[in-house]
Symmetry: C2
Subunit: 217 residues, 2 copies
């Protein structure tokens, strides 16, 4: 029988298929670690056959790299969105930035699993290392610029060396809290991480930041 009129597969545009494969890759990595992201598992989740992957990507490594780039982009975009709705005061911008990086969309076990998997691999894979370095430095520059604006507003302009030290420390706070939140999200209440981070950054810079939890208002 000709299995009635049902088609066996549908053709899709290149953009759609690439996006689906990347998303399926992220799902697989998040679920079973980077070693669980085999071409067969990815294809199964994407609803296509395994061979199709090599029709859109030269090899599995390229798919993984594209997937990691997508994660980096998603995270930095999230942070930039928080800045797009630019509040009037620099202090508010900095607080919003910190909050965006420690909130639900970024603090996510799935993203962390990807990050850890790729970070571990970046030591032996120069291409992945480049992707990482790019997103990382962009993030730190953003922090440095925000801190500079905040200190200037407070009438305490900082020299470049001090600005750098502040950016490094604040970046570390955000990174560290992000990791803790991703690995043990159940241990922290909603917004608790962001509150801790903002309080810590405020103390670090010696300024008052809006949105501090328990500010005794």
């Amino acid at each position: 029988m000709t299995t009635n009129g049902r088609r066996k597969f549908r053709r899709e545009g290149e953009g759609r298929r690439r996006r689906d494969l990347i998303e399926a890759t992220l799902d697989c990595v998040a679920e079973n670690g980077i070693e669980g992201a085999t071409v067969r598992a990815i294809a199964l989740r994407a609803g296509v056959s395994a061979g199709l992957i090599r029709h859109y990507f030269p090899g599995k490594a390229d798919l993984l790299q594209a997937a990691y780039a997508a994660v980096v982009k998603r995270m930095t975009d999230q942070a930039k969105d928080a800045l797009a709705a630019r509040e009037a005061r620099p202090a508010e911008r900095l607080a919003a930035f910190v909050r965006a990086n420690l909130g639900p969309p970024v603090v996510d076990a799935r993203i962390f699993s990807l990050w850890a998997g790729f970070i571990a691999r970046a030591h032996a894979d120069t291409a992945l290392a480049a992707v990482h370095r790019e997103g990382y430095l962009g993030f730190r520059d953003e922090v440095e610029s925000l801190v500079g604006a905040v200190l200037e507003e407070a009438g305490r302009p900082a020299d470049t060396a001090m600005l750098r030290r502040h950016a490094i420390a604040i970046n570390a706070i955000i990174d560290g809290l992000w990791i803790e939140g991703c690995m043990a999200s159940s241990l922290f209440g909603e917004g608790e991480l962001a509150g801790i981070a903002i309080a810590s950054v405020a103390a670090q810079l010696g300024v008052d930041l809006p949105g501090r939890a328990g500010s005794g208002h």
Copy 2:
């Protein structure tokens, strides 16, 4: 006369063999990621045949777990050593603790590579996750106890909730700086990370800590 006098292998005690196999595993993980730690590669580096692994470990998973436990122990031991030579003042102890975790033996690309490799897998491997959780909570408890002593000395005893928040933040600072230092050690001068961390912790707690860089001595 056994052909010629040369022995084909030597018998070693169980302790020695297990230690060698664990060390070989760490070498493999650090060099090529956790996926590069195959039983054959590990055995080759340890100078034994592949089959011997299963004579000392029920399976490869057990070897990996033992190897990760060794890494965690090594890191926490390093920090505890800094506390063993207990200085008089709590502030000095806290500073020494921070400095120990951001100095040469702990800030190391190889250890980071190991950490990242295992962390990535811990999401899908409950045994590894348990090993991690154990070492992690021990570290945080240490920080909390140190912070409590420092605040008490300063005449500003903190309630448990505040203590917890401080411990979380300081832990994050150390973690974040540790990662930055491991991944891009060339970007930081000697002792710079420790200096940034101590300054940040001092600001966070509102106390003066010894060993601050640029303290105008």
